[in-house]
């Protein structure tokens, strides 16, 4: 039976960008204000899952050709790597630092090592959530 999902498809095309933007916003604002890598990652993952729901898995897999297990692994590596990096500088594990830079367009910007850590968390969360959803959908087909 073909389900009529015209509304869902049309809305998704617009809403996915809003969700993705919101996810990136949450991720970037995370270390000082409410937000952070974990919920940013969850929001981003929900956008990807929405795409999987509206289109079929195959075509999304073509446009997002990642193995999400490896995305999660890369995220953990990045997050633990930032913690480990501080050992190399002779400060306690998981130390963080930040500085202000004059960047073109953005002007005076705060760049922190926490952002790298949070990027790892984002990748890990996206990878894990999408892997879970995909494995559930696979087992249903089988």
């Amino acid at each position: 039976m073909k389900i009529n999902d015209v509304i869902l498809r049309t809305i998704t095309r617009i809403i996915v960008f809003i969700i993705l933007t919101f996810g990136v916003y949450l991720f970037l604002s995370g270390h000082n204000t409410p937000g952070g890598g974990f919920i940013g990652g969850l929001v981003l993952a929900s956008a990807i899952v929405l795409l999987y729901l509206t289109s079929d898995i195959e075509s999304i897999r073509k446009s997002l050709p990642f193995d999400f297990k490896l995305v999660a692994a890369l995220g953990v590596l990045l997050a633990t790597g930032t913690g480990f990096g501080s050992i190399l500088f002779g400060v306690p594990f998981m130390s963080q630092t930040f500085a202000y830079f004059e960047l073109p367009i953005f002007g005076k910007t705060e760049l922190t090592t926490v952002t790298i850590f949070e990027a790892g968390v984002v990748l890990a969360v996206v990878g894990v959530v999408v892997t879970i959803i995909l494995s559930m959908s696979e087992s249903e087909e089988a």
């Binding site: 633990t80 501080s86 400060v91 594990f93």
Partner: protein
């Protein structure tokens, strides 16, 4: 600040993640994971010596001072266990190389083992109660994956029980943490200890401590071990050996920490209760070890008996008793791993699981047979093997403390252990061989080497107890004097 302390946690995690990317290269995965565990073992020996000269080492994550930040604390007790756990894991990995099979290896077996050991090491080293919960979860998640890996029907049946019990225990853990945080307003273990001492351990705090006792008893298999024999007897041998050697020990470690560092004010309630639970555990464990003919179940019930025995030391809680327990934990990690590996090898050689259907294995592989004899003696506590030192110290302290019931149970359990294993030895290993010349599969070198390594380990631990004595007595000193630990954590920056 000493970044060394975090390495036993972070190195296995990072290497494990890197191995995920190396999924198709099994040979490389084997080499890297083995080298990692050997590296961590070397590191722990170095840490142990640093502790002897400089005292307890600690690391405040991100430079956040206790009690505000999370921290890792390395004292002799924790690092001794990290060292033993790492060595046992390395040996189990060697056994896994030639027994686990390519199908498992491609399904991220090595990363999961490394995550498991990261969780185990993290639980030993952390100085923060919530962090302990996190490390427990890391260890448990990896163990869920390992126990179901392969996906056989019996495995899934037992692992459902295992997962449900552990999720429930983790929930209780969280509730107990919430109670404790609600009462004392801190999660730093040293800080909790200080506050409990200041406020006095009133009935409310004692009740909370009993909730913790319940949680860790479930994890350690103290009295609440009904889930243990089933789930430890179904996974592949190398995994079962890791579980049998390490997982219950983490629960035991947590019990020791809680009831020597924090809740040591009401021994007439808590330690009495631990003593009763330990006694009942021994009796039930002995019944189990005698009742079954399946080698794997007998071995699993032997784990239960050992848990009871070790906790007798905690129940008595004199420095000698604690020292004896520490010796016995180290011994038991090595000997139980060896016992599980031997049981697995027996089943592999004969293809049956009941010992009365096996016979004459010593003719197929003499070294194997004698290794079984050594581990039997070692677990029964016959000198000069490694079980002896622990048993004598616990026994001595039980006499000094006048706990004759526990004393009797402890030595009764030794005899039952001896009997349950000698039964296997006489039936399965002595006698006429049942495997005909044509069917004889020589025991692979890859299976024999780890068995011999662990056998050598239990002998040298027995003969070299003297060399360990300094470390163990230092560990027992820290455990029986909470002020030392508190001073190391809260006493300003070094």
């Amino acid at each position: 600040m000493n970044n060394l302390v975090v390495l036993p946690l972070i190195i296995p995690i990072m290497v494990g993640v890197i191995l995920v990317f190396l999924r198709p290269y099994i040979r490389l995965q084997r080499v890297i994971s083995l080298l990692t565990m050997i590296g961590v073992s070397g590191l722990s020996i170095y840490m142990l010596n640093v502790i002897q000269t400089d005292g307890i080492i600690r690391l405040d994550f991100g430079g956040w001072k206790p009690p505000f930040g999370i921290l890792f604390v390395g004292d002799s007790f924790a690092v001794l266990l990290v060292l033993t756990a790492s060595i046992v894991t390395a040996v189990c990995l060697i056994y896994a190389f030639s027994s686990i099979g390519e199908k498992h290896e491609k399904m991220f077996f090595y990363p999961f083992v490394l995550f498991l050991i990261a969780g185990v090491n993290g639980s030993f080293l952390t100085g923060d109660l919530f962090n302990l919960f996190v490390c427990f979860e890391l260890m448990l998640l990896a163990s869920y994956a390992l126990v179901t890996l392969g996906g056989e029907k019996v495995q899934l049946r037992e692992s459902i029980k295992y997962v449900v019990i552990n999720v429930l225990a983790s929930w209780f853990f969280l509730v107990a943490l919430a109670y404790l945080y609600g009462t004392l307003g801190t999660l730093n273990m040293a800080h909790i200890s200080e506050r409990v001492a200041e406020a006095g351990q009133d009935p409310l705090l004692t009740t909370i401590s009993i909730v913790f006792l319940l949680v860790f008893s479930l994890k350690a298999g103290l009295l609440l071990f009904f889930w243990l024999p089933g789930s430890y007897s179904v996974p592949p041998t190398a995994v079962a050996a890791l579980f049998g050697a390490l997982l219950t020990k983490v629960g035991i470690y947590a019990l020791f920490r809680m009831f020597t560092l924090i809740f040591y004010h009401e021994p007439s309630i808590t330690h009495q209760l631990i003593g009763i639970m330990a006694g009942v555990t021994i009796i039930l464990g002995c019944m189990g070890a005698l009742a079954y003919k399946d080698v794997r179940l007998i071995v699993s019930y032997n784990v239960v008996i050992a848990v009871g025995f070790i906790l007798i030391g905690l129940a008595i809680a004199t420095p000698t008793a604690i020292e004896g327990s520490i010796y016995y934990i180290i011994h038991d990690m090595i000997a139980k791993a060896l016992l599980f590996l031997l049981a697995g090898a027996m089943i592999k050689m004969t293809g049956v699981t009941k010992f009365d259907q096996m016979s004459g294995l010593i003719r197929n592989s003499p070294i194997f047979g004698w290794m079984f004899f050594i581990v039997t003696c070692s677990l029964a506590g016959i000198p000069p093997l490694s079980g002896f030192v622990g048993k004598i110290l616990v026994g001595q302290s039980a006499i000094e403390a006048g706990s004759y019931v526990l004393l009797a149970l402890a030595f009764f359990s030794s005899i039952v252990v001896l009997y349950s294993l000698l039964r296997i030895f006489l039936n399965a290993i002595f006698g006429e061989t049942i495997i005909s010349k044509e069917d004889e599969v020589p025991l692979k070198k890859g299976l024999l080497i780890p068995v011999v390594l662990l056998g050598f380990g239990t002998i040298s631990l027995g003969l070299g107890a003297e060399a360990l004595a300094d470390y163990v007595s230092n560990a027992a000193y820290t455990l029986t004097n909470p002020a030392v630990y508190i001073e190391a954590v809260l006493g300003g920056d070094e």
